[in-house]
Amino acid sequence: MFQETALSGQITFFQKLRSLDYILLFCLLILGLVSSLSMYSTEGGEVLYHTKSHVIRFIVFFSMMLIFSFVNLKLWHSIGYIFYFVVLCLLIWASLYGVKASGSQRWVDLYFINLQPSELMKVAIIMCFAKFYHRTQIHLVNSFKNIIIPMVVLIVPILLVVSQPDLGTSILIGLSGLVVLWLSGVNAKYFIYSSLVLLISLPFVISFLKPYQKLRILTFFNPDRDPLGAGYQIIQSKIAVGSGGLSGKGFLKGTQSYLDFLPEKHTDFIFTLFSEEHGFIGSVLLLFLYAIIIYRTAKIGASARSFFGKLFCYGFASSIFIYVTVNMSMVLGLLPIVGSPLPIMSYGGSSMLATMIGFSVVMSTKIYQKQIIA
């Protein structure tokens, strides 16, 4: 105790400021700029509602992230479980009294903002597991108790989100959780066994899916079976990306987008629009930008002395990777269409808020990298 206090006391504000990861911050700012310009393009070159609110959200949440970065990592560690439970309560609230929109009940009305707790859960689950494994000794990681508790912690929010219904987000929460479990040393055989169980139970799972979800999976395997209906999104998305070519059609010149052939262009299909306008070169550069962000996050984790910070950074870097991969694979026709935003690029306040909270913890880990948490 004494040691730790002494250590933290030695860090001055300027030292903290200096130890921020500026490359990561710069990359996030670039991403914010690119996303704002893309939003501007979705509105046909005018600053309308989506662009305005996206820019404001980015500025607000980015500033918030900067401020929260100075919060001691210990504090983040100490609220790890509380954060999870608060989000879980919000999820329950959402499924009881939530705001309904386009057939699902995902939002809670907080008077100043319509919050989507399932997005926050993506970060909360990582924080919760990071704390859990921080406190678990390595030889006890694979004990029965320590396998069952995280499973319950993971499955409860997943079930809540699935029932909203929001298959995409629940998959992302699940994957984020599993990746942390994997990193923290859960025996590989559990993953193999559970994959086998999943594979066997797949037909049963599919029978529980809603008709539109089944349709999406069928459509994924053959988009041409209903080109104007279920297959429309993926066909139009591939046309947009493919017609972009090497260098794209040019900023504000994506015909698929401004002529409204592209569905959901503000949210899930924002990468399609970007790719149509900026082509292969632009798309690879954007992917590269994400790769740097993931790499810098992981690097912070590598240099963190506390297991909580390390596990959170690794887990958060991996889940950013998962969001990016799932979103891009989806719009490029490599995965079925499930609702999954592209971090920071896609329009959506809750998603941006969750991402920025995550980066706050990452930055805090950087500032307090030498700190050891009991």
Binding site: S184, I239, V241, T255, L287, F307, Y314, L332
Partner: protein, 659 residues
Amino acid sequence: MISGGSDTSYRKQSVVSRRMFILSAAKLVVFGGIIAQLFSLQINQNKKYLTLSDKNRLREWKLPPIRGDFQDFFGNIIAGNLKVYQLHIIPEQVENFNSLIIRVKDILELDQKTFNKIIKKKNSQKPWETLIISENLSWDQFVKINFYLHELSGVKPVLSVARSYPYNENYTHLLGYVAQASQNDLTNNDEIKKKHVPGLRVGKIGLERSLENDLIGMNGVQRYEVNAYGKRINQIDHIEGQKGKSIRLTVDTKIQQKCNELLKDRAGSISVMDIYTGDILAMHSSPSFDPNLFLYGISYDNWEAIRNNPKKPLINRSITGLYPPGSTIKPIVALSALENNVISPNFKVNCSGKIEMYGQTYNCWKKKGHGVVNLRDALKVSCDTFFYEMSRRLGVDRLNETAKKFGLGNKVFNDIFNEEKVGLVPSTEWKKNALGRGWVLGETLITGIGQGYIQTTPLQLCLMTAQLANGGFKINPKVIVNKDDLTFENIKSKMNKNLEQKIQGPDFDDALVDLGISSNKDNNLYSPLFRNQENVKFVLEAMFASTNEVRGTSFSSRIEDKKYQFAGKTGTSQVKRITEAQRELDLDISQIPYEDRDHALYIAFGPYKNPRYAMSVFIEHGGSGGSTAAPMAKKLFKVVIDRHEEREKFKQKNINFVA
């Protein structure tokens, strides 16, 4: 609490680092996969997706092609395109469609029926599709609309073109008419299908139909960028269409109009032909109707009026009307008899008004009889008794051969008019095949006076007359002017050459045609149709007598002025068999019901000294040829001959003028 042993802590760290390393490697592979997919879509398949993207966003709108004109011989437009003022509304661009349309209704003074039709049309099409409120605004309506235009946003007055027939009913049967393309038109004509746009007018009948592919022209194309909902965003390019080919006809509007005037209130047909070039100067069928009525869909009342007219205006009598030729066949019967040496010109028959043969009585039209007549007299006075006797000797098969050679029982045009009828010249073989019964000799007799089975179209009679009048040469009847048409002089010299050849040696070509080996029509074009031209000349001279000598059947219609003098042959064909009792009654024409009255016919050529034109006049249920048809020919000949000079002058000036 003191943190866990450094050993466990170290182990924990090493596990997470090792696993993160594995995960990072996996991430690189996955990102590689995404880049590979991007490469595949954007580089490898870029062309395919670019095409698909263009297919998405570009829409072509075909514009209606502008139809080619019809011109008469002198270049006057007889079927053209008229500028019309139309009123269009695009419902999507209108704020309050209902109040706008009611305002428009008031301004245009539309009746409720038209108004309902417009509303129905609006509901059946997409909101961004142009709604045509009126296809043809009157000038007054156009002015009114323009006056109120500032308060009618979304309403567009448009200048468009529509088919127009400036001579109304004059050319209806020759040209036909256009109307909206039907499903049938689309399936039967690929050219129409290719160029079809909603509201396209296509030829329904006549030359408008048969020359459709030349007339139709090329569509203009407007290419627009559209959004996902099909709304036009902006115009990318505009390709001008091409007007269809203009077609110049051989007809002379002045003569055509004269025919129409002569046939006023009658059912019948008049055709006029150049006996050398085969140019049809006029071909009119009466009663006619105004083809302009069909442009915007004919109204019920107008259509009923046309359909229920007992004189049947829809029938083109000139080429589809089949009638017994009556005595107008006699020149051919006489020629056939002479050519086959059945009789000599001096052969005589005593006509007592009737003749008994095969147990039947055959009457001459003149009850008292003609007395002793030779062939020339028989043609001149149209003695039936003489022709009964001559036909009996000739036989129907030899008559059939001559009649077909001169143009009866064949289509006059190859394929310009699909509705054209072949007609019928009977033969023993025909009857066996068609009716399954043997030929009865008595039938030969009535065939010899143009009654019985024989049926011809008025135009066939005209062609027959022309081919007699030119000295007996085959000609090519036509209504369309072509660049490579032979001139009168060329044709005349060709005929002379062919005649010389025939006289000089045995005609090999003729023999081939006779044997049925050669049937090439063009090969024997302008070649003689006779064995001995003296026979043709004899018949022509007898026709002259029939018109210009006392007791000739059309003597009262003669013109003595040599410039206009013509020769002809009357015909009065019975519609139904009459009994002896009726014959005795000798009713006046006004006492017989219209449908039972005889058809009046007249064929003629002139000017007699140097024949150039032939005509046939046919009046359905018109009574006798001499009293009804011949006087019309007299009036028409004046016009035809007068117009001849104009025609020659025009030809001189416009040697290469086609259209």
